[in-house]
């Protein structure tokens, strides 16, 4: 009986294992290749494991190819995007779930509707023009401001939904004690939002760490301000692409490691965040 059951499950396991390999192989390949010498990548780049493990790529990428600067910029960009996203989504989620002023619903649906008007790459140039007005068109601050104040609809969904589950009796008790609307947010609601904050923070980290087009157009003329992904891609599109594959791979590995670690530790929040907003909205 038990054996028959196992036999029935065997094709399922086989199929899932194949897809595990498919999902995992390109990542493993990248990490392995990042330890190959450039000579090996270019001539016999077709064996998975390096013939000789070399750390040189990382040292070179870090010291000579500015990857230490790129990493610093990525950390800077992600840090402020995460803080901003946490504040904006808890703030707006709280207002849209609790406030009672006229026009609230209208504003909420106006913001949600932007999901269908968003034109992605097509608005990059206008965004650059808008930021030029306040002289931030050549700085990562421009990217941060757009990402934080531009409002992320998914985050707004999740935040409003989460805060709506906090019992309103808590607010009312605080109100009787003389707390104002903002004080209730600051002293009571915000501290109760820990799971929400974790989800939003991780989603914001993922999107800002991985972002390419927006930071690219904001740092086009100034390599010293580029975040990791932009820096890596700059090597690829430069004339010397062939001779710098090893640096690109080391850079890619550097950009993948934090993302992977955070995903493995917090994958519950990742999945919850990335699916909730869409399915329930």
């Amino acid at each position: 009986m038990k054996r028959r059951k196992l036999l029935k499950k065997l094709p399922v396991y086989l199929f899932l294992t194949v897809f595990f390999l498919i999902s995992f192989f390109p990542v493993l390949f990248t990490f392995m290749s990042s330890f190959k010498s450039n000579m090996e990548i270019l001539t016999t780049g077709n064996s998975l494991f390096p013939r000789q493990f070399v750390l040189e790529n990382y040292i070179k990428a870090w010291q000579m190819a500015d990857f230490s600067t790129y990493t610093k910029n990525s950390v800077f960009l992600s840090f402020f995007c995460v803080i901003g996203a946490v504040l904006s989504s808890t703030c707006c989620g709280y207002v849209f779930s609790r406030a009672r002023f006229r026009g609230k619903e209208f504003i909420y649906y106006l913001m949600i509707s932007s999901m269908f008007v968003s034109l992605g790459t097509l608005t990059l140039y206008p965004l650059l023009m808008i930021m030029r007005v306040i002289n931030l068109n050549k700085s990562l601050w421009g990217v941060i401001i757009i990402r934080v104040f531009g409002m992320n609809v998914t985050n707004l969904f999740i935040a409003r939904g989460y805060i709506a589950t906090i019992p309103t009796e808590i607010d009312e008790a605080a109100k009787i004690d003389g707390c104002s609307f903002f004080r209730i947010y600051y002293n009571i609601i915000f501290p109760l939002c820990k799971p929400l904050i974790a989800t939003v923070a991780i989603l914001a980290f993922r999107s800002s760490w991985n972002d390419y087009m927006l930071p690219m157009v904001f740092t086009m003329t100034d390599p010293k301000r580029m975040p990791l992904v932009v820096g890596i891609m700059r090597l690829k599109s430069s004339g010397a692409a062939a001779s710098s594959w090893n640096l690109m791979l080391a850079g890619t590995a550097i950009s993948l490691i934090p993302m992977m670690l955070i995903y493995l530790v917090f994958n519950r929040y990742f999945v919850a965040g990335m699916t909730n907003g869409a399915v329930k909205g």
Binding site: V27, L122, N210, Y212, M233, M248
Partner: protein, 309 residues
């Protein structure tokens, strides 16, 4: 007696509303500034010959005339976008659904697969393009070597040498990037089906495919619908992946709408900066995206109506 306290409460409410408005005001302004103002810019430039340096001259419908009569490359990029989206979703959505069904079982080690199959979804699209361009490299790429070892091909394929091959690689990379997230959407949907319904179906003798198409699929239909809409819009707006994987190679033949227009905005790949013209193309693309959404929403509504009758 009640009068004074009501006044205080009223004043308190007004105070609260003021604070609420102040709290969302910066985000509301930012939202309008970064979501709607760019569209106004595009609308304004679309009827001019603005090039980023000299003053913009009003040229009326000239840009649109140029798109419709003199720019087959733009239409090719739009056709490429639709072709790529269609074929990759044809593979991706059933695959994601199948994997979700498999992952929805209570068997040992399922948690491991749930975590690992979702892994590609957390990687940057640009980085995915980079990795796949190395995997599919013509002369010593991993994929060629593997295919040769198995004996499927005699000599290495130049994956980025012909349009067909390059589009195929784009499709594969795009499916790899997105099947995990769609799989998770479907898995969430499957888990929201009440257990009793499942058990009832089994008692009535429905099992396997019949149960899947008769019970499971209709149950997750609403979520399926919105997931598919997001997948369609997302793939029509693909940009990062294409730029980093083929960048239009060979010879601009794999350009998609977003990358093609981007190059006119920023003067990449040897083009001149033509903001006005790029804006006109953006408008046409935006209208196209809007139409697709509209047709989809109308279409699904009709299907639903049909089912009810």
């Amino acid at each position: 007696m009640k009068h004074p306290s009501a006044v205080i409460r009223n004043r308190g409410l007004r105070q609260d509303n003021l604070q609420a408005v102040l709290m969302i005001l910066p985000f509301l302004l930012g939202f309008i500034l970064f979501s709607y103002v760019p569209i106004i810019y595009i609308l304004r430039y679309a009827f001019t010959d603005y090039n980023g340096y000299t003053a913009a001259n009003w040229t009326g419908l000239h840009n649109f005339q140029r798109v419709f009569t003199k720019d087959p490359d733009f239409w090719m990029s739009l056709v490429n976008t639709v072709t790529l989206s269609f074929f990759k979703l044809l593979a991706e959505i059933p695959l994601a659904l199948l994997l979700a069904v498999l992952l929805n079982q209570k068997i040992k080690g399922i948690g491991f697969f749930r975590v690992t199959l979702f892994l590609p979804a957390v990687i940057s699209a640009a980085i995915i393009g980079l990795i796949f361009s190395l995997l599919f490299a013509a002369f010593n790429g991993m994929v060629n070597t593997m295919l040769q070892t198995v004996g499927l091909i005699g000599k290495p394929i130049n994956w980025f040498g012909t349009k067909g091959n390059a589009m195929l690689v784009l499709g594969i990379a795009s499916v790899w990037q997105n099947y995990g997230i769609n799989m998770m959407f479907f898995l969430m949907a499957l888990q929201s089906i009440p257990q009793e319904i499942d058990e009832c179906a089994e008692l009535d003798g429905a099992a396997g495919l019949r149960k899947f198409f008769g019970i499971t699929l209709p149950m997750i239909a609403p979520i399926f619908e919105s997931v598919l809409l997001m997948a369609i819009i997302g793939s029509l707006k693909v940009c990062d992946l294409v730029i980093s994987l083929t960048d239009g190679q060979p010879g601009g033949q794999t350009e998609v709408a977003m990358t093609y227009i981007y190059k006119f905005f920023f003067g990449k790949s040897g083009r001149n900066i033509e903001i006005g013209y790029a804006s006109a193309m953006s408008l046409i693309t935006a209208v196209f995206l809007g139409l697709v959404t509209l047709v989809y929403v109308r279409g699904t509504r009709r299907i639903k109506g049909g089912v009810k009758e």
